[in-house]
Structures are given as structure tokens and as C-alpha cells.
Symmetry: C2
Subunit: 289 residues, 2 copies
């Protein structure tokens, strides 16, 4: 899906909601085990009940790989099921890959050909040649981890290696510097464009969106961490929206596990609808729709 189609879907659905299909087999309703592939059945019902309110779906591959080849089958079936809505929903393989060029080609095959996802999340640690194989696909997107939603994101992503200590040693209190995640954005944005690259910025670090928007005003950002992880939709929208929206805000557990009973799809719909309503108001207030 290209940028224009994505923006049009956001306007049509009045939503920038991405639903994370972190479909842990231990958390899905028990009655689904009557089906041959309970996880796929769960995803299918979640998709059917929420598609009116979501512009994107994001299966995290870990929750499928933990079940081995059978899990990968559920993942394939899920992406295959999503194909019928290919003009209406953007699909993200949340795989957090990244390897040397020769190997990254195979990661791209797995995610962009085998699964036919519109986008894949990539960890930037190995640099440009680990990312470029993904950028050769037309209308497919790379979503680079910049500042993630977890606590330990500060371990490296927000690091200014050695600078503070050294400056303190010199008796200099103020110094110019940037965090690693900013360096990652500044360097990697040159590998592609805002038509084929996005960045992950955790909702739990919403204030950092101000600085990030100065570097990349036009790029789409994938924002996880709203819901179970405690991030605020309104803060994220306040600091992160651009004129064409430019945000995909993800909720996983907060939507898909709204109920563990037979009404799970109905309850998930209610959760998705409630977020979409908030998003509609936000988009209207910002005159995006």
C-alpha cells in the first residue's frame, strides 16, 4: 500500500488505529479450541469485528513462532485472510529483524513475499545494509525501531556515550548532544524516503515526539504502548500528529483480550470503536478530516 492510499484510509475510517495481533494461544478464549486452528480463528473474528475501526493490523511474529511451524501457519493464514481487505488495511509484520545484507534478503522474502505484509519492523543496530534489501520492494515499508516503548529503551537508545561524564570532567555543564535514537533517525532517513520508511516511537515517550517531528515532519510513525503499557493517546496525538495525520497508534492486548469469553470479538469491537471515536475527534479538532 502506498502513502496516498494509507492517508485516504485514515480519512475514510476517521481512524489511525493499528490493532496488534499478539495472539498468545494461552490467552485466547477456550471455546476456540474446537476449531482446527484456534489462533487463526481468533484473528479472523477479531479482524471481522474491528475492521471498520482500524486502518492497520500488526501481528507480532514472536507469538506465532513460539508455536513453531504450526504457529507460522496461523501467521500465514492471518496475512492471507487480510489480503481480501488489501485496499482497506495496512498490514505490518512486527518481526524486528536485521541481519547482514545476504540474510536480510531472506528476511524480506519471508515478510514481503511469503507473508506479503505491507511493512516490516526492523532493528537498526546492524546499519544500512541490513535495511536496504527491504527498500527494493515497491509500495512496501520499512519501520525502523527508533525509541521503543519499553523501560530498557533507555539502556542504549537514549544514550550519549561518554559525553556527559567527560564534559563534567571538563567542568562544562551545558553541551550539545543527541541521543542514539536521534542519530538513528537522522542517518537512516537518507536510506529511503517518507514514502517507504516509518519509525517506531513508544507512546510511553510521547514528549520526545516534539524533537522527533523536528527531524522527520512528514514520516509516518508507528506508536506502540497505548493501552496495557500505559501510553496516552491524547499526548501522542498532541505531540506527534502532522497535517496528513502521520501516525499509526497501536493497541494490542488492550483490544484483542478485552474478554476471554465467547463475547471476545464483540468486546474487542467495543474497545476498538471507543479508541476510534477518540481518534475521530482528534482528527476533526486538528482539521485533518
Amino acid at each position: 500500500m502506498n502513502r496516498q492510499a494509507l492517508i485516504q484510509n485514515i480519512k475514510n475510517k476517521k481512524s489511525f488505529l493499528c490493532i496488534g495481533l499478539d495472539s498468545d494461544i494461552n490467552k485466547i478464549p477456550k471455546h476456540l479450541f474446537d476449531h482446527e486452528d484456534p489462533v487463526f480463528e481468533f484473528n479472523k473474528q477479531i479482524i471481522d469485528s474491528t475492521i471498520e475501526f482500524a486502518v492497520a493490523y500488526k501481528p507480532n511474529t514472536a507469538f506465532y513462532e513460539s508455536r513453531g511451524a504450526k504457529g507460522w501457519e496461523s501467521l500465514e493464514k492471518t496475512f492471507n485472510y487480510l489480503k481480501q481487505f488489501k485496499d482497506d488495511v495496512f498490514t505490518i509484520a512486527d518481526a524486528k529483524r536485521g541481519d547482514i545484507g545476504n540474510t536480510s534478503n531472506h528476511h524480506a522474502l519471508a515478510l514481503f513475499e511469503n507473508l506479503d505484509a505491507d511493512a516490516a519492523t526492523i532493528a537498526p543496530y546492524m546499519g544500512e545494509d541490513s535495511v536496504t534489501p527491504f527498500l527494493t520492494y515497491k509500495d512496501k515499508w520499512v519501520i525502523i525501531l527508533a525509541l521503543t516503548s519499553n523501560k530498557s529503551a533507555s539502556d542504549f537508545q537514549q544514550l550519549h556515550p561518554r559525553t556527559p561524564t567527560f564534559f563534567k570532567m571538563l567542568g562544562i555543564k551545558k553541551y550539545m548532544s543527541e541521543s542514539l535514537y536521534e542519530t538513528v533517525i537522522k542517518k537512516s532517513m537518507k536510506w529511503g524516503s517518507h514514502n517507504n520508511m516509518m519509525y517506531v516511537v513508544g507512546a510511553t515517550k510521547a514528549e520526545k515526539l516534539v524533537g522527533i517531528r523536528k527531524i522527520i515532519p512528514y514520516h509516518f510513525l508507528l506508536i506502540p504502548g497505548v493501552g496495557s503499557q500505559g501510553g496516552s493517546l491524547h499526548k501522542v496525538a498532541h505531540y506527534g500528529l502532522n497535517k496528513q495525520c502521520g501516525l499509526l497508534v497501536n493497541s494490542s492486548r488492550g483490544i484483542i483480550f478485552s474478554s476471554a469469553e465467547k463475547d471476545f470479538a464483540e468486546k474487542a469491537q467495543k474497545s476498538a470503536k471507543s479508541i476510534q471515536h477518540q481518534m475521530k475527534d482528534i482528527l476533526k479538532n486538528r482539521k485533518i478530516i
Copy 2:
């Protein structure tokens, strides 16, 4: 496998060779397509013909995932086949994973329970909570990417964010600093010990092993990049060996694709044997055996 057993295998086999099972279906000999699972058959014959000379096997998951659920089946069969040699060979799932804690638990399930690998490679960008779920498994290892073998490793891993420019601005020519990969090692080594953590250091950056050994004299290092990528075994050994060897040197394409004909296993054996002979001499010269 614990550290003691790994060291004993190195001494018994007079080898610190790891064979990378990057078993690209497009590169394996054509006659194997008579078998139900050509990739598994390829791996089986490679393992059988080289096991005398190798202490570790490292399937890179990308080459399996690119074939979807079927590929993951070949991967499962390969790890399952390696189980019969579980006292003799160390198995590494080269998956380069890393996600928030809740998700990393599922990555650990996939690699340490479903595949039952002895070790998994992990990208450090997301920090401690993305790694710790892997460290809860007894006698299993996390192998953190430190300084990788690819050209773009310098993009971020060897970065001293903003420091040089700023120091130049101040007119200071010499400054203390460290590269990101050193910071990664120093910080992450506290999350576990040399009994459950290793680091990836590319053979193409052998000189950097001097500095790395000052930080982690006892840890095992997994060294890719010998062979097709141009790294030198002798340089790596010179700079990287410690008293208990402390190295697993990987070769993938240079061994497994020694021939694309019916004699592929025989030729792979010849390649593995030749490297093992060099390793035996190195271990003797350094009085490790």
C-alpha cells in the same frame, strides 16, 4: 550445554569451528529435490559429514522463514536431528531477536523450547528487558550482537554520537570516548555472566578484539565473517583467544556450499576438516590443548 561441556568439546575435537547452516533452498544441490524435505536432507548430510570437525552448528532462521511454515518445519527437523548429538555439539539459533519483555518471552519459547537451541543471537537495541527472558533458562545462552561483520556495522555500532564534532568545536583534539559496541558490552555483561552470555564480533574487525578482550577476558565470542566475508582465522585467533579458547568461529557458505553437486557433503567435510586442522595447530601453539 554449559560452559564446561563446551570447553571439553573444543579440547576433544581440537576445534572451535561453528558451521552456519544458512541453507538457502536456491543454492542446495538439485538432486536433493527427490527428497520430501530437500533442505532438511541437505542439513542432515552436512551435519553427518562434518560433525567430527565442528563443535557448534548455527542455522540462521532467515533462510528457513523465507520458505514460510514449510521452512520452519525444516528448521525444527534440523534442531531435532541435532539433539542426538546434544552432548557433542552446541546449537545456536541465529535469529537476532529482541523485543519488549512480554514478547521476548515468546521469542525465548520459540528458540529455547520449541527448537531447544543451546543459544540464541539477540540484537541489543531494545536493552535489558528484551534480553532477560532468555537468561532465565538453565544452561542456555544469549549471544548479543556487539560488533557485526557487515560493512554497515560502522553506521551505529562504532559511533561516538556527536562527541568528535563537539570536541573539534572546542579545539580539543584528543578525547576519551568509547564506541557504542563497547558500551553495549559493558552494560549488558552485568545482565548475566560468562556462563550464559556470549558476544558476536565479526572476523572482519579482528583488531577490535584486543579492546574487547580487555572488557571481557573470559566470555566466549561468536565470530562470523571467516570465509566468504573475508575475515582471517589467524588474525581472529591471535587477537581473540583466551586460556580456555573462548572463541566459536563460524563459517557458513564457505563450508556448506563447497560444491553444488552430488559430492556436496564430501566437499563440505573437506572444507571443515581443513579449517579444523588449522584450529588444531592454533590450539596447540597456544597450549590450550
